[in-house]
Every structure is written in structure tokens, then in C-alpha cells.
Amino acid sequence: MSGPLLSVEGASKRFGGLLAVDGASFTVERGSITGLIGPNGAGKTTLFTLVAGFETLTAGTVCFKGDDLGRMPPHERAKRGITRTFQIVQPFAGLTVRENIAVGAHLRHAARGEALARAEAVAKRVGLGDRLDQPASGLTVAGRKRLELARALATEPTLLLLDEVLAGLNPSEVRDIVPVIREIRDGGVTILMVEHVMQAVMSLCDRVFVLAQGRIIAQGTPTEVTRDPAVVEAYLGHGAAARLASREVARG
């Protein structure tokens, strides 16, 4: 099939008087890791929840494999192959790691034994293989982020939406999990990620969209967008790009 896997056209979301997302358009190519970055409050997470179906669009469309998803609820989007993770991890705290992941695996495997076996395989893939029978509530922050990833992966998604999976991790934990994400993509899963950790965005993403005040202000490869004056201004304020440029000229 041709065309992008996901295409968002003129997406807007209004909460009362606040226009959180204002006519944002972007596409995610099959087999890519696409990043969505932007300053705090830019509307990244809102845009994300629109794609996942947790909120409904005020205007615009979200098309997956060429079909308009309309007001399709999240569980049906998951069946179609779109699964999200949560920025604030949401483990099933009373269950073990294995049982947590099995809930995801049940989407495509009705039999309990099969789902549990799938859960074990996925846990090994994300590095939770030795913690299968631990209660999820006993995991560290890094462990919970991996669990979040594993559960989503167990649904066998076509498009994985990662909402700041690296936030709250220390640099060595980030280094550990970056190759895991790359392996997931190499396994054939397309990834759209909202991320603040620029080190990871730079090394992982093929293409980046920058969102500021609800609008897409720039797009391109990670290197291109970090050089874009509009992006620098969005992060550091009006006139920042010019000041930085003049300082560099002064330094020679």
C-alpha cells in the first residue's frame, strides 16, 4: 500500500476557551520513527490523545492506512493496530508483570495460555524477562516504563504511540532503553513518539515535527529542525535565534 501510515489533517481540539491544538497536520511514514517535539504546553500530548482516540477532534481528520478514523473509540483503534503508552505510567498495580503484559496480548490471543506465553516473549524483548512474577507495583520507574512499552507491544501494533517513555529516567537508563525502541522499529513497528529528551530524539527519529502553541511550526530531520530559527525561538523566546547567531558570529 502506498501513502503514509498515519496522516493527520488540520487537527484541532478546543477545551472551552482554549484551543489546545490548532489545525495541526503531519504524517507518519511506514517503518519510521517519527518524533513530535515542542515546548511545554505546546499541545503534544493532546495531539497524541486525538490520534489514540482518547479525545475527539473539534475539527480535522486522523487517517490510518487511508481510512478516516472519525470518532472511533480507543479500543477499536487498538484492534486496528494503534496502541499508545502513557506519559504517567498506568500499570495494573495489583497484577504481576506477566499478567500485565498478558492483558495486552489478549487483544489478539483469546486463549489464556497463549496470551501468557506471548507476554513472556515480549517481556524478554524489553528486558523484563527476569521480573515476570514480580508485582507491577514493585517495579522501579525505569521498570514501569519498560512495562508500559511491553504491554503496548503485546497488542502487536502497527503504529506504536510512545508518550514520553524516557521522561524521568536517568541518562544511563535512557541509554539502555534507546536500543530497545530501535529494535522494536526494526521488528516492523512504526513509532510515533512525543519526547523531551533531545539526545534520544536526535539518535532515534527519522523525522521530527515541532509543535508550538498548537501549531506545527517546523518539520524535517532532527538536525534540520534544531537549526531552524523558528524552533529556537519557540523554545527560548522571541529574538533568541538572532541573539544566538550574533553571539556565534562574535566568537568567530
Binding site: 482518547f54 479500543h75 487498538a78 498506568q90 495494573f92 492483558v103 503496548a152
Partner: protein, 326 residues
């Protein structure tokens, strides 16, 4: 537990059932059998509540609405239309389950959770109680009598032992069914809804559908307790059928016994009824003393044994084995 074989999963249930089935052989004292039948009846009502509350995390405060519907349909079909008792009993279960579906659809579709859901169920039970009390068809405040005609084909038996075995059979069947549920996809999804609804939705769980299915099952089981009550006492009125007493008992026994466990409701019912009988024997006839005791027990259970008696026993067991470890 979910990975163990069928023997480990279902064996203990059958063993407990067989052991309990010996009771009428050991004693023929009517007071003991009577008390045990009541304990099993409450256990059955509690098993129903446990499916929705214990496994699904949706705390109902009005399971009387299902108990009462099961009871009234069983009684009225016999008394008004001369329907066979077993057919009436089955119809009572179906009617209770249907009320569950409707109540579930109305409240879950509007996103009611937690105390709001509890209040709505309480309100439903009260409305049904007032209606049953005021309508001529249900016999109004005088209630409805089922004609005494002690024959097995009428679901009426002269021996309390037979009622005991029937009640035990129902409780056992539900325990087996709940164990089966625990080991199924539906069970996994239901527990996921209890633990975190948003996460469940993200993983492809149709949470509305799962909750409606759970309340339907839950209501059917509690309605069976209501139908059995009618066959045992051959009488029902609005306060017995839709009164808060049964709503409270139905939620109390799983909480005390062990929320979201197969044996919880049975353990809780036997423990509470044993205790209530003992209190009555010691404290004599102070009205409401058993209820006051129930209240304090609930507080103690929630404060010190949030996993119920079953969890408490497991904790003590683990403590002992840790003690022995080098």
C-alpha cells in the same frame, strides 16, 4: 495461579464442597442446618457481588435490586400464574440478570464510577422496594406467599438437608464458574478494568462491554440467591426482597472473606454467620447487636486485613514460613 493446571485450579473447590456436603450426615440439628443454609444463601448473594465488585472494581451498594427481582419473579410466577417452581426460579435468574444489564448500560454508559455508581445502585434498589411495597400485583406490604405443597417437583422439601445440598451445589457451581472466569480472557479484561480503566482501553479492552457483561453475570448470581430464598421460606415482601440488609450482606461477605477471590464470599459468610450466632448466644436478645458487630468487623477488615480473611491467613502463613527460613 493462572498458569497452574486444572487440578490445582478446580481441585480445592471440589474438595471443600465435598467436605461441607458431609455436614448433614454429621448433624441433624435443624438450628445448625438452618444457620448453614442461610450462610450459603448469603455466600451466593456475595459471590454475585464479588464478580462485579471484587473482580471488576465496581462497588454496588444496591445488589438487593437483583436479589429482590430474582425473589419476586420466582414467587409471583408461581403464585399468580401457577408456573412450575424450577421454571420460575430460572426465570427469576434471567430477570435479575436483565435488570443488571439495563442498570449497567444506564450507569456505565454515562461513565458513573466509584461512589456515584454505588449511589445509583442504592437508589435503584430503593425505587424497586417502594414500588414493590405499593403495587397490588406484588401483594403490596403484605407480601407474596408461595403455596405450601411439599413435593420435589415443586422445589419444596421437608428435609433441610436437601435445601442445604442445593444451596451448596449452587455455591459450588458459581465457585467453579468464577475460577473458570479467572482463567479466561474475560477475567483478565475484567481485572484490568478494575486496576486501571484508561490503560485497559489503550490495550484494546472494550471497557463498557466488559462492565456490562460483568454486572449481568453478577446480577444473575445474586438473583439466584433471591429465588432460593423464596423456595426456602415460601414468602417474600418488599423489605426482605429489596431491603438494604441484603445489599449490605452481599458486599460484606466478600470484603471480609477476600475481595476478588473464589473462596472469599464463602469464607466471609461462614465466618460472619458463625460470629453472629455466637454473639446472639452470648449477648442474648439485644436487638441489632449482630449488625453493630458487622459494622465494627467491616472497619477492622478494611483497616487491618484489606485482602480479607483469606489474605490474612496467607500473610500469617508466609510469616511462619519466613520464620523457618535460614
Amino acid at each position: 495461579m493462572s498458569r497452574s493446571g486444572p487440578v490445582a485450579a478446580y481441585g480445592p473447590i471440589l474438595a471443600v464442597a465435598l467436605l461441607l456436603a458431609m455436614l448433614p450426615v454429621a448433624t441433624s440439628a435443624n438450628t445448625i442446618l438452618n444457620s448453614m443454609v442461610m450462610a450459603l444463601l448469603i455466600a451466593l448473594a456475595g459471590q454475585g457481588w464479588n464478580i462485579l465488585g471484587g473482580y471488576g472494581g465496581q462497588f454496588s451498594f444496591g445488589h438487593a435490586v437483583f436479589f429482590g427481582t430474582g425473589a419476586y419473579v420466582t414467587a409471583l410466577l408461581q403464585a399468580r400464574f401457577g408456573v412450575n417452581a424450577y421454571v420460575a426460579f430460572a426465570a427469576g435468574i434471567a430477570a435479575g440478570a436483565m435488570v443488571g444489564t439495563i442498570l449497567g448500560y444506564l450507569s456505565f454508559r454515562s461513565g458513573l464510577r466509584g461512589s456515584y455508581f454505588a449511589l445509583v445502585t442504592l437508589a435503584f434498589a430503593e425505587v424497586f422496594r417502594i414500588l414493590a411495597n405499593a403495587t397490588a400485583f406484588t401483594g403490596g406490604a403484605a407480601g407474596t406467599l408461595v403455596k405450601l405443597d411439599v413435593r420435589p417437583e415443586n422445589f419444596q422439601f421437608s428435609s433441610r438437608a436437601v435445601f442445604f445440598w442445593i444451596a451448596l451445589g449452587l455455591v459450588t457451581a458459581v465457585m467453579l464458574g468464577v475460577r473458570f472466569m479467572e482463567r479466561s480472557r474475560f477475567g483478565a479484561w475484567l481485572v484490568a478494568v478494575r486496576e486501571n480503566e484508561d490503560a485497559a482501553r489503550a490495550l484494546g479492552v472494550d471497557t463498557l462491554k466488559v462492565k456490562i457483561q460483568a454486572i449481568t453475570l453478577s446480577a444473575g448470581v445474586t438473583a439466584a440467591a433471591g429465588g432460593f430464598y423464596v423456595q426456602y421460606f415460601l414468602f417474600i415482601d418488599a423489605n426482605l426482597a429489596y431491603g438494604t440488609w441484603i445489599s449490605i450482606e452481599a458486599l460484606l461477605v466478600p470484603i471480609v472473606g477476600g475481595l476478588g477471590t473464589v473462596f472469599g464470599p464463602l469464607i466471609g459468610a461462614v465466618a460472619l454467620h458463625g460470629l453472629a450466632e455466637a454473639t446472639k448466644a452470648i449477648a442474648g436478645r439485644i436487638p441489632g447487636i449482630d449488625l453493630a458487630l458487622y459494622g465494627s468487623l467491616l472497619v477492622l477488615a478494611i483497616a487491618f486485613a484489606p485482602n480479607g480473611l483469606q489474605g490474612l491467613m496467607a500473610k500469617i502463613g508466609r510469616g511462619l514460613s519466613f520464620g523457618r527460613a535460614p
